[in-house]
């Protein structure tokens, strides 16, 4: 399919949003759902066509390098001689890959929601928002310049806000949506400042111009330093902060667990597969510039590694199944960031970059699957708490098998998808330094443990009383996406990713490094084994273990008090001390001045009312005197 057709993938969801948003309430719920799903199906077909054409058409390979294609680029705003904001579509390996990821997961979620959201109030609104989100996300990945990306970054944030707060009558949902919006918006402030710094020193927003010669750009701004780092480093670090906010990196991760208040399919789409990887995508998009600022890459590595460990520990003790998945998502995204951070062109052909994108791809599939399974379970059990579940393998066989496949995939057991991508990440980490290699291996072990803890608690463990309502597998619209995603999770690992997505477009073969792979399989098996021993049958060992390290357990359960810390800083310090004094100034000084001005304006208005007397003689008199005065006064003043 011709690349220019990619425009359809952007505008069709937008059109659907308008149709459903404006006319949705006038059509039956079912029609709205079907329109949304059908339009998403078309979008997916076109997206696949475009991506596959890009990957397999030899025309795009020039001298062994897969070249980025600028499909559209229209100037939208002119800000200076060279500084222009454009709107367009850029197809390159990562954006083509993202087209596939987003359209696949979005289609699955559209289909699944037909069953999951059945009978909900605001069903049409839900589908309208889904379309808006898909539009924003696709616009984000094909952005040709960083400003367009920022606009879509914000739009993604807005649609996420709308979807988290979908149940707007629930207080917790409103609070969660506000929290998500404010935290990511706060991070985006960094992004915006970074963009402005970059634009100021480089005089361009355009990705291709920036990529063509990052060394010179960094060199040109190296003279300007602040706190020991060059302006370029600051700009790139600030841009990374924007990405870290969207991707829920420590310490900006606090919004993601709360965002689980939204409908579960939304969590699958936004908070597992697509929006939360926008930050990873952002760093990958600007990777050549990051290579020129190695200190920022170190920052990214450290942030990723710390977040991965932190989230994995917290995930081990949560009891709400969606929260376990949320922390697991944070941890896995941190893997991707770490992989980008440790990637260097001289190390094994920049394998970290490829590994990060590979993991992004496979993770989207199996994490989307896990959330959809969780949705099916919640749909049946009507609770998010593990204690209400158990022994479900008997009642929901399809959900059970697909969930198990996803768990094996995320734990890194061959031949499931996660093994291959995670293995590449570990290779990249060991290439960079042994410290990060060992660190990430430990996190991988923890991953296997907490995922199987979750698995056993849901599908084995105790046998609660289901007599009032026997759980069963859901209808086909909900199970079909599970099966499809499970198949992808089984097979995706065999994609020769090195032939498609590499940091500079050159292809190479992936070789499994069996030393690393063997170790990681062993660690994963240990994690699974521990989980099996502890959680296969109901017993008191886990509780006793928790009691023996009560302080640590409680701290981990309360997520190491990060939310309380934020609460303290915002409410006590910012609202209490800083805002109060500003509020006083605003009320007394600013408002006082404004009130006085308003009073004066009103009086003046009253005083001159006689001018408009209605008498025509007076009008003409004023006219004539006015004209004369105009001439005479300017003459007197200017001569």
């Amino acid at each position: 399919m011709d690349l220019s057709l990619s425009i359809i993938t952007i505008f069709l969801p937008l059109l659907t949003f308008f149709v459903l948003g404006l006319l949705g309430m006038k059509m039956p719920k079912k029609t709205a759902g079907l329109i949304g799903t059908a339009s998403m199906l078309v979008t997916t077909i076109v997206a696949y066509g475009v991506a596959l054409n890009y990957f397999f058409n030899p025309d795009f390979m020039v001298g062994g390098v897969r070249e980025a294609q600028l499909v559209f680029n229209e100037t939208w705003l002119t800000m200076g001689e060279n500084l222009k904001v454009s709107m367009g579509i850029l197809v390159d390996p990562i954006s083509a890959m993202m087209l596939i990821v987003i359209s696949t997961i979005s289609l699955m979620v559209h289909l699944y929601s037909l069953g999951y959201m059945h009978g909900e109030k605001g069903f049409q609104r839900y589908y309208a928002f889904l379309s808006l989100f898909t539009f924003s996300m696709l616009g984000l990945v094909v952005a040709t310049n960083i400003f367009q990306m920022f606009i879509f970054f914000e739009m993604v944030g807005v649609s996420s806000y709308l979807l988290i707060g979908f149940y707007y009558q629930k207080h917790s949902a409103i609070a969660a949506s506000k929290k998500a919006f404010i935290v990511t918006r706060f991070a985006d402030l960094g992004f915006l400042i970074g963009i402005m710094l970059l634009a100021y020193y480089c005089d361009t927003f355009d990705f291709q111009t920036l990529m063509s010669n990052p060394g010179a750009i960094v060199g040109s701004s190296a003279g300007v330093t602040f706190l020991g780092c060059s302006a370029a480093s600051w700009a790139m670090a600030l841009i990374f902060i924007g990405g870290a906010g969207k991707s829920a990196m420590f310490p900006l991760h606090i919004w993601l667990p709360d965002a689980m208040e939204g409908p579960t399919p939304v969590s699958a789409l936004i908070h597992a597969a697509t929006m939360v990887v926008a930050g990873v995508f952002l760093v990958a998009r600007m990777f050549p510039v990051y290579l020129a600022t190695p200190e920022v890459l170190e920052l990214i590595t450290a942030t990723g590694a710390v977040t991965a460990l932190y989230a994995a520990i917290v995930a081990c003790v949560q009891t709400d199944i969606k929260r376990v998945l949320a922390f697991s998502t944070i941890s896995q995204i941190a893997f991707m960031f770490t992989a980008l951070g440790v990637a260097r062109p001289e190390l094994h052909e920049g394998v970290g970059y490829m590994a990060s994108m590979f993991h992004l791809f496979t993770h989207a599939m199996f994490k989307g699957l896990l959330f959809l399974c969780a949705g099916a379970i919640i749909h049946m059990v009507h609770s998010n708490e593990m204690d209400q579940m158990g022994n479900l393998r008997k009642y929901m066989p399809i959900t059970h098998i697909t969930f198990l496949i996803a768990c094996l995939a995320i734990a890194g057991i061959p031949p499931f998808a996660g093994f291959f991508s995670k293995d590449e990440i570990l290779v990249a980490a060991y290439e960079n330094s042994t410290l990060w290699g060992v660190w990430m291996s430990v996190v991988a072990g923890l991953t296997a443990f907490y995922m199987f803890r979750l698995y056993y608690r849901i599908f084995w463990w105790s046998k609660p009383d289901y007599s009032h309502h026997t759980p069963h597998d859901c209808e086909w619209v909900m199970t079909l996406p599970l099966i499809l995603l499970a198949v992808v999770s089984c097979l995706a690992g065999f994609i020769p990713f090195g032939h498609f997505v590499t940091w500079n477009g050159e292809n190479y073969d992936i070789h499994l490094n069996w030393t690393v792979a063997g170790t990681s399989i062993a660690i994963a098996l240990v994690g699974i084994l521990v989980a099996t021993v502890l959680y296969r049958k109901e017993n008191s060992v886990p509780d006793r273990m928790a009691d023996s390290v009560k302080g640590l357990y409680k701290a981990a359960y309360r997520r190491f008090y990060m939310d309380e810390l934020y609460q303290f800083v915002t409410h006590k310090i910012i609202f209490g001390i800083i805002c109060k004094s500003i509020a006083w100034f605003d009320h007394v000084i600013v408002d006082g001045t404004m009130n006085m001005l308003a009073h004066m304006t009103n009086n003046a208005s009253y005083a001159i009312r006689k001018l408009q007397s209605g008498s025509i003689q007076f009008y003409v008199w004023v006219y004539f005197i006015g004209a004369l005065l105009l001439g005479v006064v300017t003459f007197m003043l200017l001569i």
């Binding site: 208005s605 001018l611 025509i616 004209a627 001439g631 200017l638």
Partner: protein, 484 residues
């Protein structure tokens, strides 16, 4: 004489053809077809408007330089066409009402003739042609203002308009005769040269003051504005909307052309400061009066006076960006103000109510009209992301491009006035959405032509600001038009 020169006058010829067709329809077709007259002429004018977008954009002059056309001049005429088309569309319902039926044709014909006069004002580079254009654009308006024959207010308005217009023409002519006195020619080029030599003479100052006053009357700059409120209130609403957008827009363009082309050489020496004072007066006094109005048409009259002050910022900028920003401002002002007038007219046709207190609670009964009105108020007040924000932004930045401290002060005053204007624009919104009303305007369905007009205007308010190519195009047209 080389008759091919007429071919440069695409727009003039086009509007004359429309005029003749309407005239023939009105005069010779049997009575049973006459009920379609208004719609037919609107369609004809619509076709002409669309076609005029495809006329070539060239720099050309005819009649030994008396008549000039250039890309920006053609664009200006296109903008006027758009305004005229919407006014015609919105007037159909009123024009077909029982008491207007007998004069249906005249209304449209008079309007088209004034449009022809406005074209001449913009294209003229000789004061003889300019005055012909000015009078062609002024006198028929007096007849239009008096169109509601049986209403006292309409007569009063017409008399006031005619009398002050004649007076203003006299002053204007006096100014021109002074100009002729020291220049010895009425060609803009010759005057520009002569002005440069006559710098410092009292005659030049008085002449320019009178010329500015004459044009200022059409744009209703303070203190030449006093007719505006009475005439706007008394005239039929279709005529008021025409006066407030198309007539005012054309006069603003003409002011730019005359001041830069004929008197450009004495910009900083003379008229920059005249305009400076007039702009401050216009924006401020227009705002102060608007705050206290209760009649919607009178309210919009003062709002339009204040808007005229903003429009003149494009003239005082005295550069190519200025005319681009001015054209853009007028285009957006056309759609925003016609949205407001469209709502007023629809309500007036249905219920005869024009007081702001009648609008209380409009949202409950006619949400779509209230919504359109709200958008118009937001746009006029310059709230982003509606079109009015962008037009204000560009016109302010064009004035700032001049770079002097005085200009910064002027823009600051204009900005402060924007805040004041928000107050009264939002008063209307508050009335419609918040104020309770025991006896609100009943729910009604307006005529399709009124709805079509509103849809076009609302689309303009929402989109023109975001579609950046329009401003880029105007900017390019201005820079290749050899104005400076």
């Amino acid at each position: 004489m080389d008759y091919s020169q007429f071919l440069f006058m695409h727009h003039e010829i086009g509007v004359l053809i429309v005029f003749l067709l309407v005239f023939l329809f009105d005069t010779f077709l049997p009575a049973r077809y006459q009920s379609k007259l208004a719609v037919t002429s609107c369609v004809l004018f619509g076709i002409y408007t669309v076609l005029s977008f495809f006329t070539p954009l060239d720099n050309a002059e005819a009649f030994s330089g008396m008549f000039v056309t250039s890309p920006i001049v053609a664009s200006i005429k296109n903008i006027l066409n758009v305004g005229m088309f919407i006014v015609l569309l919105q007037s159909i319902q009123w024009n077909n009402s029982d008491h207007e039926v007998i004069r249906r044709g005249e209304f449209i014909e008079l309007m088209l003739v004034t449009l022809f006069g406005m074209y001449l004002m913009v294209s003229a580079r000789h004061f003889l042609l300019f005055v012909i254009g000015l009078e062609t654009a002024s006198l028929p308006l007096a007849a239009l203002v008096a169109f509601e024959k049986k209403q006292y207010e309409s007569h009063e308005a017409a008399v006031k308009y005619l009398f002050t217009a004649v007076f203003s023409s006299a002053i204007y002519m006096l100014g021109l005769s002074f100009v002729y006195g020291f220049a010895g020619s009425l060609y803009f080029n010759d005057i520009a040269v002569a002005c440069g030599l006559a710098e410092g003479s009292m005659l030049l100052y008085v002449a320019l003051a009178f010329v500015v006053a004459g044009i200022g009357f059409k744009i209703s700059l303070v203190p030449f504005h006093l007719w505006t409120a009475d005439v706007y209130q008394g005239a039929p609403t279709s005529v008021t909307s025409y006066l407030s957008v198309v007539s005012k827009g054309a006069a603003a363009f003409a002011a730019f052309i005359v001041l830069t082309q004929a008197f450009g050489t004495v910009y900083s020496a003379v008229w920059e400061w005249m305009l400076y004072a007039l702009i401050i007066l216009t924006i401020t006094i227009g705002n102060l009066f608007a705050i206290r109005q209760t009649n919607m048409k009178r309210f919009l009259a003062f709002s339009s006076i204040s808007q005229a002050g903003y429009i003149m910022l494009g003239v005082i900028a005295f550069n190519a960006t200025g005319i681009a920003a001015l054209s853009y401002y007028v285009l957006i002002y056309v759609v925003s103000n016609l949205t407001a007038f469209g709502v007023i007219q629809a309500i007036e046709n249905a219920t005869d109510k024009v007081d702001m207190t009648d609008y209380n609670g409009l949202y409950k009964t006619n949400p779509k009209l209230a919504f359109a009105m709200m958008l118009a108020m937001f746009s006029l007040g310059g709230i982003p992301p509606f079109a009015g924000f962008f037009s204000k932004f560009f016109i302010f930045s064009s004035a700032l491009a001049e770079g002097s401290v005085a200009m910064y002060v002027l823009v600051l005053i204009a900005l402060i006035n924007t805040i004041v204007s928000l107050y009264y624009y939002l008063l209307v919104v508050k009335a419609m959405f918040i104020n309770p009303n025991d006896n609100p305007i009943p729910t009604f369905r307006s005529h399709w032509t009124e709805r079509a007009g509103l849809v076009i205007c609302v689309a303009g308010v929402l989109l023109i600001g975001l579609v950046s190519c329009i401003y880029t195009f105007l900017n390019q047209a201005a820079s290749v038009s050899q104005l400076f």
